[in-house]
C-alpha cells in the first residue's frame, strides 16, 4: 500500500529579458504602434519607424546574444520535489531522474535559436520595407501590427523548447499572417486567406493531436524531457504512440514549410496575397515552419529518427520533384515563385533524411537545413524585391506573367542583373555560389548517410529546377521593348534590392557563413 505522495513546485520562473529581446522588441513595437494609432490615427512615418525600430532592436538583440556567445535558458520551471509520508523522496522511475524533476525551460538561446531568429528578422525587415508602398500603405497600423506579431511568434518559435510555447508561437506566427493576406480585402485576398486558413486549421488540428499523443506517451511538454524519456527506450506501445504523435506533429508543421502534400495552399495564397506578403510567407513564415520542425524533431524527438528521417527523406524529394515539375510550366511570376518555394522547401528539409542515432548526425542535419534556409531566404528576398518592383511598374499588376520580363535587361540592367543572380543562387549554379554551397551543405549529410535514392533524386532535381529559373533569366536578356519607362525606385525598395543583392554577393564570396552557421552543439 502506497503512502500518499504529493509533489510541490519549487521556485518561480525568472525571465531573462535580454535573452527574450528578439521576442519582446517586436511586441513592444506592436504595442507602441497601436498606442500611437489610438492617439493620433493615420500616422504614417512614425509607425513605419517604430516597426522598423522594433525589428532592428530585435536584430540587435540577436547580434548581442550571438556576440555574447553565452547560452541562456529562461522561463524555466523550478521543477518540483516529491514528498511522501515516509522520510526521503520516493523511488522514482529511472527515466525521471533527478529527484527534482519536471524541470524544464521554455526558451533557450542557442546557436540554433539565434540563427533562425537572424534569418527571420532579416526577412521581416526586408518585407516590411517592401510593403511600405504596397499593402502597408493603406492599413499601416494593422499591417505593421500583424507583421510584428508574426515576427514575435517566429522568433519565439526559434527559442521555444516546450510544446506549449511551440504551439502558441507557431500559431502566433501563422494567424496574423492570414490577417495580412486578407488585408487586400477583395475577393482574391479573401479566397487566398480562406485557403490558407483552412489548411492552417486542419494542420493545427493535426499538430494538437500529435502533441496530445506525445504528452500522453511521455507525460511532459518539455522537449528535453521528452527526448530523455524516449531515449531511455520505452515499451513498444509507448513508442508507437510517440511516433504517431511525432508524425502527426510533423504533418501539422508541414504546411508552414510547404512540404508536399501539405503544400497545396501555397500557390493559391501566394497568387492571391499582396506580393510583399507573398515574400513574407516565403521567407519569414517558412523560416518559422522550418524552425518548428527543427526544434521539434531535432531537439525533442531525435530518438525517433528511425521513424521520421525516412519519412522526411521521402517527403523532401517528393516536395522538390512536385514543386519543380509544376513550376516548369508556370507563366505567372508569383506562381512560379510559389512553386519554386515548394521545391526549395524540399531542399531545406532534405538534410533531415540523414538523421541517425548519433547526436552529431542530427546536428549536421540541422546545420544543413538552417544553412540552406539562410541562402534560400536571401536569394528569395532579392527575387521578390525585383518582382515587387516590376509589379508596381506594370499595368497588369501582381499577377504579371513572365513575359513582362522580356528584355528587362535593356531597360533596367541593374535590377535584372540582381534578379538573374538571385535566380541562379536559387538554382545553385555559379555565379550563384551561395546557392551551390547551400546545396552542398544540404546534400552532405544525406550523402554521408548514403541515402542514395534520396540523394540522386535531389541531384536530378537541380537540373529540373534550373530549367525554369533559366527560362526566366533567358527572358531578361531576350530582345524586348526598349521604350518602357525607367523605374522610379523608392528608398525602401532600393534598400531591399541593394541589400538582398549585397547579401547574395556577400554570401557567395563568404559562403563560409552558410556552411558554418551552426558550429556548436544542438540544444
Amino acid at each position: 500500500m502506497l503512502t500518499e505522495t504529493s509533489a510541490r513546485l519549487t521556485g518561480v520562473p525568472s525571465i531573462d529579458l535580454v535573452a527574450l529581446l528578439p521576442v519582446i522588441a517586436p511586441v513592444v513595437a506592436l504595442l507602441l504602434i497601436l498606442l500611437a494609432d489610438a492617439l493620433r490615427p493615420g500616422l504614417r512615418l512614425p509607425s513605419d519607424l517604430i516597426g522598423l525600430a522594433g525589428l532592428l532592436t530585435a536584430a540587435g538583440g540577436v547580434a548581442y546574444l550571438a556576440l555574447d556567445g553565452e547560452d541562456r535558458n529562461t522561463a524555466c520551471s523550478g521543477g518540483f520535489v516529491v514528498t511522501t509520508g515516509q522520510t526521503g523522496p520516493t523511488r522514482l522511475p529511472e527515466s525521471l531522474s533527478p529527484a527534482e524533476f519536471g524541470f524544464g525551460c521554455s526558451y533557450v538561446v542557442s546557436d540554433l535559436t539565434l540563427a533562425v531568429q537572424g534569418i527571420v528578422l532579416l526577412g521581416a525587415v526586408a518585407c516590411l520595407l517592401l510593403a511600405l508602398n504596397g499593402p502597408g500603405a493603406k492599413d499601416r497600423t494593422a499591417h505593421h501590427t500583424l507583421l510584428l506579431a508574426t515576427v514575435a511568434g517566429a522568433t519565439a518559435l526559434a527559442g521555444a523548447r516546450d510544446l506549449a510555447t511551440l504551439t502558441v508561437a507557431l500559431e502566433t506566427a501563422t494567424l496574423p499572417t492570414i490577417g495580412l493576406i486578407a488585408l487586400r480585402r477583395d475577393a482574391q485576398g479573401a479566397q487566398a486567406a480562406v485557403t490558407m486558413l483552412l489548411t492552417a486549421i486542419a494542420s493545427l488540428g493535426m499538430l494538437l493531436l500529435g502533441i496530445g499523443l506525445l504528452f500522453l506517451a511521455t507525460g511532459s511538454l518539455y522537449l528535453f524531457r521528452i527526448a530523455d524519456v524516449l531515449a531511455a527506450g520505452p515499451d513498444r506501445p509507448v513508442l508507437v504512440v510517440a511516433v504517431a504523435g511525432a508524425v502527426l506533429s510533423l504533418a501539422g508543421i508541414g504546411f508552414k514549410v510547404s512540404l508536399v502534400p501539405f503544400h497545396m495552399w501555397t500557390p493559391d495564397t501566394y497568387a492571391g496575397a499582396p506580393l510583399p506578403i507573398a515574400a513574407f510567407l516565403s521567407t519569414v513564415s517558412k523560416a518559422a515552419g522550418v524552425s518548428a520542425a527543427v526544434v521539434l524533431l531535432g531537439i525533442g524527438l531525435p530518438a525517433l529518427h528511425e521513424a521520421w528521417a525516412p519519412l522526411i527523406g521521402i517527403l523532401a524529394v517528393l516536395t522538390m520533384t512536385v514543386g519543380n515539375l509544376i513550376a516548369l510550366r508556370q507563366n505567372v511570376a508569383v506562381r512560379l515563385l510559389a512553386w519554386s518555394t515548394v521545391a526549395q522547401a524540399g531542399w531545406v528539409m532534405l538534410p533531415f533524411a540523414a538523421a541517425g542515432p548519433s547526436r552529431d548526425s542530427v546536428r549536421e542535419a540541422t546545420a544543413g537545413a538552417i544553412g540552406y534556409l539562410l541562402a534560400y531566404v536571401v536569394a528569395s528576398l532579392a527575387v521578390f524585391a525585383v518582382v515587387v518592383l516590376v509589379a508596381r511598374h506594370h499595368r497588369s499588376g501582381e499577377e504579371h506573367t513572365l513575359q513582362t520580363y522580356r528584355g528587362l535587361s535593356r531597360t533596367e540592367p541593374v535590377a535584372s542583373a540582381v534578379l538573374a543572380f538571385a535566380l541562379l543562387c536559387l538554382a545553385g549554379l555559379p555565379p550563384g555560389v551561395m546557392g551551390l554551397i547551400a546545396k552542398v551543405v544540404a546534400l552532405r549529410p544525406v550523402v554521408d548517410a548514403e541515402v542514395w535514392p534520396v540523394a540522386v533524386i535531389a541531384a536530378l532535381n537541380v537540373a529540373l529546377a534550373l530549367a525554369y529559373y533559366l527560362r526566366w533569366v533567358a527572358l531578361l536578356v531576350a530582345p524586348g521593348d526598349r521604350s518602357a519607362p525607367r523605374w522610379r525606385l523608392r528608398p525602401a525598395e532600393g534598400i531591399v534590392l541593394g541589400g538582398a543583392a549585397a547579401g547574395c554577393l556577400g554570401l557567395s564570396v563568404g559562403a563560409e557563413v552558410i556552411a558554418g552557421l551552426l558550429p556548436g552543439i544542438l540544444h
Binding site: V243, A244, A251, A307, L315
Partner: protein
C-alpha cells in the same frame, strides 16, 4: 657529314614545299625543281658517304617522345639501303618535277584556276615524306612519313577534283591504304607493349637475338604485312591503284609506280630480321604476292586504258619484289644475313623505279599528244614521234625483262631467290617460282601489246606533228639511262645488292620466255589484229578488264554494309538515344500537368490532402518502428 646529307635529303623537299606555298606564285616551279634537285644531290652525297664511312644509326630530327617508361626517339638513320633508295626516289622526283613544269603549262581556266603551285608543293611534300620513310630510324617516324605520303597521294590523285572519277579515286586510294595502315598503327602499339621499343635498329637487333616474344613478333609482323599490302597495292587491298590513274600522269609515275607503292617492300626489307622471326607471316605475304603477280598481269593484258594497263603492271611488278623478300625465310643463305636476303627485292625495286617512271612519263607524253588515255585512241607513234616510241619501248622491254635491260637482271634475281627457296624444298619457293615464270610470259605479252598498239597501229594523231616541250623529253632520257644500264650496276654492286644471285638456268628460261612473249604480241598486227587481247574470248576480256570483279566484291562486302550501318546509327541516334532525352521534356510537362490537376482551388480539398498526408505518414511512421 652523313647526318647532314640525310637530313638535307629529308628537309630540302620539305622546305621546298613550304617555300613554294609561301612565296610568289611564279616561283613555285623553281622551288619544286630546286628542292628535288637538292634532295638528289644530298642523296648521292649520302650514298657515297655511307659507302665509305658506314651507316649512321641516330640522326636527331624531331626530338624524342617519352611514353611512360618508353622513350620513342624520333630520329633518322642512314645506311646504304636508305641511301640507294633515296637516290632512286630523288632521281624520279626530280624528273617528275621537271616534267611537270611543262606538263601543266596552260592548265587552268577562269573558274578553276591553275593548281600548279599546290601540286608542286604537294609533290615536294611527298618527296620529303618518302625520304622520311626511307630514313626513319623509328617505326613511329616511319608511320608519319608513310601516312603523309598517303595524304599526298590523295591530294594528287584528286588533282582534277572537278572530275567525279578523280574524286572517287582519291578517296578510295586513301581509304584503302589507311585500312591497311591500321596494321602499322597497331603494330607500333603491339611493339610498344611487347618489345618496349619502336626503334627499327633496336627491333631488328632484338629480333635477331630472339628477345621478342613469339606472340608479339607474329602479331606485329602480320599487322605490318597488312600495311605493306595496302600501301603496295597487293591483293586484296589492290583495287585503289588502277583507279588512282585518274591523277595527273607525272604523279602516277612518281607515286603510283616508282616510289610510294614500293614503300611496303622497303618496309619489309628494312625490318627483315623482325619478319624472319615469323616465317608463317612471310609465307602469307608470299601467297598474296603470287596471287597479285599473276592476277594483275592477267588484268593488264586486257586493259583498254594505257595508264590502267601500266597500273596493273605495277601491281604485278611490286608483287615480284614482295615475293622476293617473302621467300627470304625459306632460303638457305648462310646465317640469315638480312641484307643479302633482301637484295633481290631491293634490286627489282630500284630497276622497276627507273623503267616504270620512264614508262609513265613516256605514256604521259603520248597522252599529251593524243589527248586521251584510251588505247583505242592511240597508234602510229613510231611514225610521228620515233624517239618517244623508242624510249617507250625501252621502258617496256625493261618491264618485260628482256635482256640486257635493267628489268631483266632484277627480275632474274627475284626468280633466283625463289628457285633457291624451291630448292630448299618449300612450297612457297615453288609457288613463287611458278607464278614468277608465268608472269614473265604475261608481262611480255602485255608489254608487247602496249607497244604494238601505241607505236605501230594506225595513226590516229592529228596531221600536224605535235612538238613536245624539252622539259618533258629530257626526263625521259634521264630515266632511260638507268633503265638500260641497270645491269652495269651488278658488275660493281653496292653492299646492299651483294646478295644477288642470278641462276643461269632460270635466267635463260626467263629471257627466252620474255622474248617470245614480246615477239608474239608484236607479231599480232601481222595476224590481223593490232591488239593481241582481242584474241581472247569476249567473256574473258570482260572479266580481265574488270580485274575479276573484285571491286564489286568490296562494294558489296564492305562499303554497302558500312553505309547501311551508318544510316541505322543515325536513325538510332535520333530515335533511340536522343529520344530518351527529348522525352524528358514532354514527360515533365505531362507530369506537371497531371500534378497540377490537384490544384482545384477548393480549400477543403487542400485540407483533405493535409489529413490524408497525415494519416499516410502516420501509418508509414508506425510501420518504421
Amino acid at each position: 657529314m652523313t647526318e647532314s646529307a640525310a637530313l638535307l635529303a629529308v628537309l630540302l623537299p620539305a622546305a621546298a614545299a613550304v617555300f613554294g606555298l609561301l612565296t610568289k606564285r611564279s616561283w613555285a616551279a623553281d622551288w619544286a625543281v630546286l628542292g628535288s634537285a637538292g634532295a638528289l644531290i644530298a642523296a648521292i652525297a649520302e650514298l657515297t658517304l655511307v659507302s665509305t664511312d658506314g651507316p649512321v644509326s641516330s640522326i636527331g630530327l624531331l626530338g624524342s617522345a617519352q611514353l611512360g617508361s618508353i622513350t620513342i626517339g624520333l630520329d633518322l638513320r642512314s645506311d646504304q639501303l636508305s641511301a640507294v633508295v633515296a637516290v632512286m626516289v630523288a632521281l624520279v622526283a626530280l624528273c617528275v618535277q621537271i616534267y611537270s613544269t611543262a606538263y601543266f603549262q596552260g592548265e587552268g581556266t577562269a573558274e578553276t584556276p591553275t593548281r600548279y603551285r599546290a601540286y608542286a608543293a604537294t609533290v615536294s611534300m611527298f618527296t620529303a615524306a618518302m625520304m622520311l620513310v626511307i630514313h626513319a630510324g623509328d617505326l613511329v617516324l616511319l608511320l608519319i612519313g608513310w601516312e603523309v605520303m598517303g595524304l599526298a597521294s590523295y591530294l594528287l590523285v584528286g588533282h582534277h577534283s572537278e572530275r567525279a572519277a578523280a574524286r572517287a579515286a582519291a578517296v578510295k586510294a586513301f581509304l584503302i591504304t589507311r585500312t591497311g595502315d591500321i596494321g602499322l598503327v597497331l603494330a607500333v602499339v603491339v611493339l610498344i607493349a611487347g618489345a618496349g621499343t619502336t626503334s627499327i635498329a633496336e627491333l631488328n637487333r632484338a629480333a635477331a637475338e630472339n628477345e621478342i616474344g613469339h606472340g608479339t613478333a607474329v602479331t606485329a609482323v602480320l599487322l605490318l604485312l597488312a600495311a605493306v599490302v595496302g600501301k603496295s597495292a597487293q591483293f586484296p587491298l589492290h583495287t585503289w591503284l588502277p583507279d588512282a590513274m585518274e591523277g595527273p600522269t607525272p604523279v602516277s609515275a612518281l607515286i603510283h609506280a616508282a616510289t610510294m607503292v614500293v614503300a611496303g617492300v622497303f618496309l619489309v626489307a628494312r625490318m627483315l630480321p623482325l619478319f624472319l622471326t615469323a616465317p608463317g607471316a612471310l609465307q602469307i605475304g608470299a601467297v598474296l604476292a603470287s596471287v597479285s603477280m599473276v592476277g594483275a598481269a592477267l588484268a593488264a593484258l586486257a586493259q583498254t586504258d594505257l595508264k590502267r594497263l601500266l597500273a596493273y603492271s605495277t601491281i604485278s611488278q611490286v608483287a615480284y619484289m614482295l615475293a622476293a623478300v617473302c621467300v627470304a625465310s625459306d632460303r638457305e643463305l648462310g646465317s640469315g644475313d638480312p641484307v643479302g636476303l633482301a637484295a633481290p627485292g631491293v634490286a627489282h625495286l630500284l630497276s622497276h623505279g627507273a623503267f616504270k617512271a620512264l614508262l609513265f612519263l613516256a605514256a604521259g607524253c603520248v597522252v599529251h599528244i593524243v589527248g586521251s588515255t584510251a588505247l583505242a585512241d592511240m597508234g602510229g607513234l613510231w611514225r610521228t614521234h620515233r624517239s618517244l616510241a623508242v624510249l617507250f619501248g625501252i621502258g617496256l622491254l625493261g618491264l618485260a625483262g628482256v635482256p640486257p635491260f635493267g628489268g631483266f637482271w632484277s627480275k632474274e634475281a627475284v626468280l633466283g631467290a625463289a628457285e633457291e627457296a624451291a630448292h630448299a624444298g618449300t612450297w612457297v619457293g615453288w609457288m613463287v617460282l611458278v607464278a614468277g615464270v608465268a608472269t614473265i610470259v604475261l608481262t611480255g605479252l602485255y608489254a608487247g601489246r602496249a607497244w604494238s598498239i601505241v607505236a605501230m597501229g594506225r595513226t590516229q594523231l592529228s596531221p600536224a606533228p605535235h612538238h613536245l616541250p624539252a622539259a618533258m623529253v629530257f626526263p625521259l632520257y634521264l630515266l632511260a639511262v638507268p633503265s638500260v644500264a641497270f645491269g652495269v650496276l651488278l658488275l660493281w654492286p653496292p653492299e646492299v645488292l651483294h646478295g644477288l644471285h642470278i641462276q643461269p638456268g632460270t635466267a635463260i628460261t626467263g629471257a627466252l620466255l620474255a622474248i617470245c612473249a614480246v615477239a608474239a604480241a608484236l607479231a599480232a598486227p601481222r595476224l590481223g589484229t593490232a591488239d593481241i587481247a582481242t584474241a581472247l574470248p569476249a567473256r574473258a576480256q570482260t572479266v580481265l578488264l574488270d580485274a575479276f570483279g573484285f571491286d564489286r566484291v568490296i562494294r558489296v562486302l564492305v562499303v554497302r554494309p558500312v553505309f547501311w550501318l551508318a544510316t541505322v546509327v543515325k536513325a538510332a541516334e535520333h530515335d533511340v538515344i536522343d529520344a530518351y532525352v527529348r522525352a524528358t521534356g514532354p514527360t515533365t510537362t505531362i507530369a506537371g500537368k497531371l500534378l497540377r490537376l490537384a490544384q482545384t482551388g477548393l480549400a477543403s480539398a487542400y485540407a483533405a490532402w493535409v489529413f490524408v498526408g497525415a494519416v499516410v505518414i502516420t501509418v508509414a511512421g508506425m510501420a518504421l518502428v
